[in-house]
């Protein structure tokens, strides 16, 4: 039995190959891409395995469950692994031409694989301290990626990013320490069992709050989101796309895992809190986005606003609500990464991300505008694209659960999201270019094929998710059902 460890081992092997061939710069993208393709294939295989055989469990080192580190892949993990694989492949293809030579020869690809190793590790682990370790692996790689190249504004953004993330790690570690002191275990399934039997759960809330703050910072949730728009627009767009797709979502993943598996005792306190936080995150993210004129900044603020929807799904806490959160997360990872990749294409043509400097792209690049419309209107929630169904599932789950306020807030925020996307559309594609500016740098150049392929690929996934809602929603429902019945997870890990 090695299957559950493979999502970690494949990136590790890829790193070894990449470092071994460090001198051959032209090989680097291809080795990285091979690793990413293998990860995607493996993730799909694992998802099928989980579907047919149930939860996959591996007790590493032959140490039985509460003592050793257990790797667990349930339906939710397997969905996240597939999404991580899709993003890995897209970003690996995109970076062949989008990342300059110098960055490529300074460990860009090994660091991307290191980040993927951390992300995959966080998705498969069943141990809270091990989860902390994978967070650190992921963050260390992201620290290097965000500063790679060493431009002044990159370092400026990186300082905020690094310092706030270190604070969040501190909270995370403090939470683990308290929980371990109280229960004497780090294994998630064992924790779930012990906490469900314990009668005095007030003390649990201390560590639950520490975890909540830690994950809120990682996931960029209100009121801890400020680091994200201050840093995400600084590195090259391929790196931002990778971060936007995966990093915050690992925070959301951990939050959903923790608050469905073992912090489930104090429902009356936590679920209204999640709804409040989710609503505020949505509203503030979308309102601040409206005042921006840099494409990457608009998109960064939208990451925050969309995280709010996922937290809302967790707060509703019905099967439909959690399934909506999972569906929305899948939609968001794909569409968000894609919008950043398209922003990179816009920059390739115009040489700028500033909406005031550009315009008239529809005339010179009609295809590019279609490539932009798919993910952007997907994010805004126009039917029949994936975002519409994501929001529909969440909002109808909210109405069914009697949470009317948050559902109306979610509806209103959808409208504002549309406003922002239409703004980018109008300014970049529709309006004529401001007069008196020199012609675009890349007006007559063809866009590199390697940068267009991932955009088309992700766009097709967004379309497919819109047209094949039913089967995908069934997968999400299945995962949500598993999450809301912790007994299945506990039994798979600890035995009967």
């Amino acid at each position: 039995m090695i299957l559950p460890a493979l999502p970690i081992l494949i990136p590790l092997l890829t790193i070894i190959f990449l470092l071994f061939n460090f001198q051959r710069r032209e090989w680097q993208p291809w080795i990285g891409l091979t690793g990413a393709l293998l990860q995607l294939a493996l993730a799909i295989f694992l998802a099928v395995q989980v579907k047919t055989q149930g939860i996959l469990v591996l007790h590493t080192g032959n140490w039985e469950a509460p003592f050793g580190i257990t790797l667990v892949i349930d339906a939710f993990s397997s969905i996240m692994l597939v999404l991580a694989g899709i993003i890995a492949v897209s970003v690996s293809i995109y970076s062949i031409d989008a990342i300059d030579r110098q960055r490529q020869s300074f460990f860009f690809f090994p660091m991307v694989q290191g980040l993927l190793m951390g992300v995959n590790g966080a998705f498969v682990t069943g141990d809270i301290f091990n989860l902390y370790v994978w967070f650190e692996v992921m963050l260390t790689a992201s620290f290097v990626l965000i500063t790679l190249g060493g431009e002044k504004k990159q370092l400026n953004g990186a300082i905020k990013y690094v310092s706030i993330n270190l604070v969040s790690s501190l909270f995370f570690l403090a939470g683990i320490g308290l929980l371990y002191g109280k229960t004497g275990t780090l294994n998630m399934a064992d924790l779930a069992m012990k906490l469900s039997l314990a009668d005095n759960n007030v003390l649990m809330n201390t560590s639950a709050v520490l975890f909540f703050v830690a994950f809120s910072i990682k996931a960029a949730v209100f009121p801890f989101f400020f680091w994200l728009p201050a840093s995400y627009h600084t590195p090259p767009v391929a790196i931002t796309a990778l971060f936007a797709g995966l990093l915050t979502k690992v925070g959301v993943y951990s939050m959903i895992r923790f608050y469905t598996l073992f912090f489930v005792q104090d429902k009356l306190f936590w679920h209204p809190l999640f709804l409040w936080i989710g609503g505020l995150t949505m509203v503030i993210g979308v309102l601040t986005a409206a005042s921006q004129y840099d494409i990457r900044k608009i998109l960064s603020f939208h990451i925050i606003s969309q995280i709010g929807y996922m937290i809302m799904g967790l707060g509703i806490f019905t099967v439909a609500g959690i399934a909506g959160a999972i569906f929305f997360m899948a939609h968001n990872i794909i569409a968000k990464t894609n919008t950043f990749l398209v922003a990179g294409l816009i920059n390739r043509v115009t040489g700028s991300y500033d909406l005031k400097q550009i315009g008239g792209l529809y005339k010179i690049r009609p295809w590019l505008s279609i490539l932009f419309i798919i993910p952007a209107f997907g994010l805004a929630g126009i039917p029949p694209l994936s975002g519409f169904f994501g929001k529909l599932i969440l909002i109808s789950a909210g109405f069914n659960a009697g949470e009317y306020v948050i559902s109306f807030v979610a509806l209103a925020v959808g409208l504002f999201t549309l406003f922002s996307m239409v703004k980018i559309w109008n300014e970049a594609f529709w309006k004529p270019r401001p007069e008196g500016l020199p012609p675009y740098e890349g007006e007559n150049e063809n866009l590199p094929v390697s940068m267009v392929i991932p955009v088309v690929f992700l766009g097709l996934i967004t379309l497919t998710m819109g047209f094949a809602v039913k089967p995908i929603l069934e997968i999400a429902m299945n995962a949500a059902g598993q999450l809301l019945d912790p007994k299945i997870y506990i039994q798979a890990v600890l035995g009967s």
Partner: protein
Amino acid sequence: MKSYITQLAATRLLPVTLILSLLVFYRGHNEPGGGFIGGLMAAAGFIFYAMAFDTAEAEKKLRVSPLMLIVAGLSIAFISTLPSLFAGNPFFTGEWISLSIPLLGKLKLGTPMLFDLGVYFTVWGISVTILFNVMEE
């Protein structure tokens, strides 16, 4: 700081630190020590050498590039996980063999030690890389 005394000391101390680092590495499984601290000690010898001469000289003395040390370390750590698979045990299970060598007595070798050797090389390579870069600034 180019002084004949430190240069001589660094040259003579280099083999000593390397041997000591291996000893510390070997006793690591049951007593204080292990791959991490051993790797740091091995790096310390070369860093002292680089302080006495310069980093280029120290890199020459190291013969292989620090990056290759990291690659070797990661590969060894990866290989150490494979025997458990061939033995049919769960991933990462520690597999042991014990050899009896004349004069020395029993020698227990196992995959945890191999993994630790990977840690040794990785830590050695990374500390040397970082400190050489800082010293060149």
